[in-house]
Amino acid sequence: MTDLEPGPTLDTATAVTTRRRRALARTRVDFWLDATILVGFILAYSFGFTGPVIHEWLGLALGLVLLVHLTLHWDWVVRTTRRLVTRRGRDRVIWLVNLALLAAMTLCVASGIVISRVAMPTLGILTVSTPFWNRLHILTAEITLGLVPVHAALRWRWIVSVARHLVTRRPGRRSR
C-alpha cells in the first residue's frame, strides 16, 4: 500500500505548484493593470499636457481597462458586499471608497463620451454636449482625482509587497 502513496502526493504537490503559479501570474497581471490605470488616469487628467485628442482616446481606453479591472475583482465585490455587516471598519471604508470610485469613474468616462469632440466623431458618432455633462465630467474627474490615491494607498502593503517581489526577482528565473 505504501508503494501507492507517492502518486497522489506528487499529484497534490503538482496541483499546489500550478495553483501557486497561477496565483502569482494573476497577482502580476493585477499589479501591472492597476499601475497602468494609475498612470493612465494621471495622464488623462492632465488635459493641458495631453491635449484633447490624447485625452479623449486615453479616456476611452481607460474606460475599457477599468471594466476589465472591475471584472477581475468581481469576486472581491461580491464577497465583501455579502460580509459588509460583519466586516471590520477598515474593510467597510475600502468598500465605500471603491463604490464611490466606481460611480465617479463611470460617470467621468460616460460624460466624457457625451462631450467628446474628437474621439466619438472619429468613430462616426457626433455628440453634442450640454452644460450638465460638461460640469459632471469636471466634477467626477476631480472626485476621481481624490479617490484614486486613496484607493491605491489603502492597499499600500499589497503594492509594496508585490513591487518588492517583482524588483527582487532574479532575471531569467521563473517564480514558483
Binding site: L38, I42, L43, Y45, S46, F47, G48, F49, T50, G51, P52, V53, I54, L67, L70, T71, L72, W74, D75, L102, A103, T106, L107, A110, S111, V114, R117, V118, P121, T122, G124, I125, L126, T127, V128, S129, T130, P131, F132, W133, N134, R135, L136, L139, L145, G146, V148, P149, V150, A152, A153, L154, W156
Partner: protein, 142 residues
Amino acid sequence: MKFTRHLAAALLAVTVVVALGVAWEHSSAARMIAPSVPAPGGPGFRKLIKAPSAPGSHGDFQVIRGRGGVRVVHPQPESGGLNVSDLQNLTRTAEIEAAIAAVVVTLSLIRRSQRRARTRARLRTAGQAAAAGPQPGPETAD
C-alpha cells in the same frame, strides 16, 4: 466562462451607474451642478447623431438640429500631440496624487502603530500578572 459571467455583472453595474447619471440629468437635481440646465421637458440639447460622411478632414463640420436649436460641430477641432511645454500640468497632477496617497499611508501607519502599542501593553500587563504568580487570597480565621 467565469470571466464572461463577471464581465456581464461588471457591465450591468456600469450600466446602472450610467442610467443613474441620465436620470440625474433629467431630474430637477441636475441644477445642483449645472444651474443653467433647462427644466425637464424643456428645450434640452443632447443628441447622438451618426455622421453621414466619414469624418477626419479638417474643416469638416456638421450642422445638428436639436430640440434647443441648431449647432455646428467640428468633428476634428484640434490636432493631436502632447503639449510638452505644459509638463507642469502633469507634474501637478502627479503631486496631488502622491500627496493624498502619502496622507492615507501615514494615517494607516499611525493607526497600525497605535494598535501594536495597545497589544504590547496588554501583553505586558498579562505577563506581569503571570510572573507575579497566584495572589495570596485573604486570610481566613480557622
